[in-house]
Symmetry: C2
Subunit: 199 residues, 2 copies
């Protein structure tokens, strides 16, 4: 070891970032110390500030430092469509895809073995929100995994009494995908979900 | 954008780390906020502390928060061997390779076009250090690049008056390397540097 306590502490601390092992952490530390101390100081401030100030929107549970997130607080958003996603990163992905309605962020998926039930996902508040707002379509955009599908199924059953339209984002061949290399389950979904183009 | 100013600031700040683009920075931010706020706070402190406290050893220019680094301050190191490397990361690599002498860290290599000459590399202080200490061998461990070789050559010429032994780390086939896939320059170095094993 090079013997600098601060440096070793920094290397260990950087390992908490996803995808960063000891070697990358070392490279990052040396880079900051040797070439970008101002950037490092700015980074330290940005992390500290975000950890302290960023909380969850009281309405959709997305990340925000205010009570309401920028999307819930934006009067121009389509209030009739409610998109349910698993994480704030999924909100970002939906935004980039051009969705302009509002969201509900589960911050996870149903996982009874880990003790994550409907209450942990904030689903208790959903019927209330449906009653209080003008939502007429719920778009289920949970991941296309076993847990995501189970969560989508649970929500479908749960909101049935509210009598709003419930839809699930389509499964199928991704753009640019070649049929030869697509797995058969996806292809069978794409086939079942085929759409009329002749009319 | 999700609209949280703190979050966007954090994502941008993380991009200053080497090998981290916008997408990785996003993933890191969400990970810290969602799963590891304690780790994030600790990371912010570690960065801030390192940026403020870590400076250079007055003797070998390695990173340290004290006047002398742990290696220069360690009486048990072999004071007769002085290894000259380009960066503190190289010190770490040499330590792992089992070297137990002392170091001189250039913090770069000769690069006249970028205005990096001998003075910027701290080479002015080298003759003085050689005169004052018991060094009897200089091991040149600069990188095996054009700049590293030029720097090694410059130092060889520079320390000639001091009449100490000067050696360069060996070039050759890396352990586990297959001859078929080694470039011809390396192989020709390996051939020229062949060592007698028969006696």
């Amino acid at each position: 070891m090079s013997g600098s306590v601060c440096l070793n502490t920094l290397i260990k601390a950087l390992c908490c970032l996803p995808g960063v092992g000891r070697k990358s952490a070392q490279r990052m530390s040396y880079h900051l110390l040797q070439r970008d101390r101002a950037g490092g100081r700015h980074l330290a401030e940005a992390i500290a500030q975000a950890m302290q100030q960023v909380g969850h929107c009281v309405r959709c549970r997305n990340f925000t430092e205010n009570d309401l997130c920028g999307i819930c607080d934006n009067g121009k958003r389509e209030q009739a469509q409610l998109c349910i996603v698993e994480s704030p990163a999924d909100v970002q992905a939906m935004e980039e895809a051009g969705y302009r309605g509002v969201y509900f962020v589960l911050l996870g998926h149903l996982s009874p073995l880990d003790g994550i039930g409907p209450a942990e996902l904030g689903l208790d508040a959903l019927p209330e929100r449906l009653a209080a707002s003008e939502v007429n379509e719920i778009i289920l955009a949970t991941n296309s995994t076993i847990e995501g599908e189970a969560t989508a199924h649970y929500i479908t059953e749960m909101v049935r009494p509210a009598a709003v339209k419930v839809s699930r984002i389509a499964h199928g061949v991704p753009l640019g995908g070649e049929l030869e290399y697509i797995d058969s389950n996806t292809l069978s979904h794409a086939l079942a979900g085929r759409q009329d183009v002749g009319s």
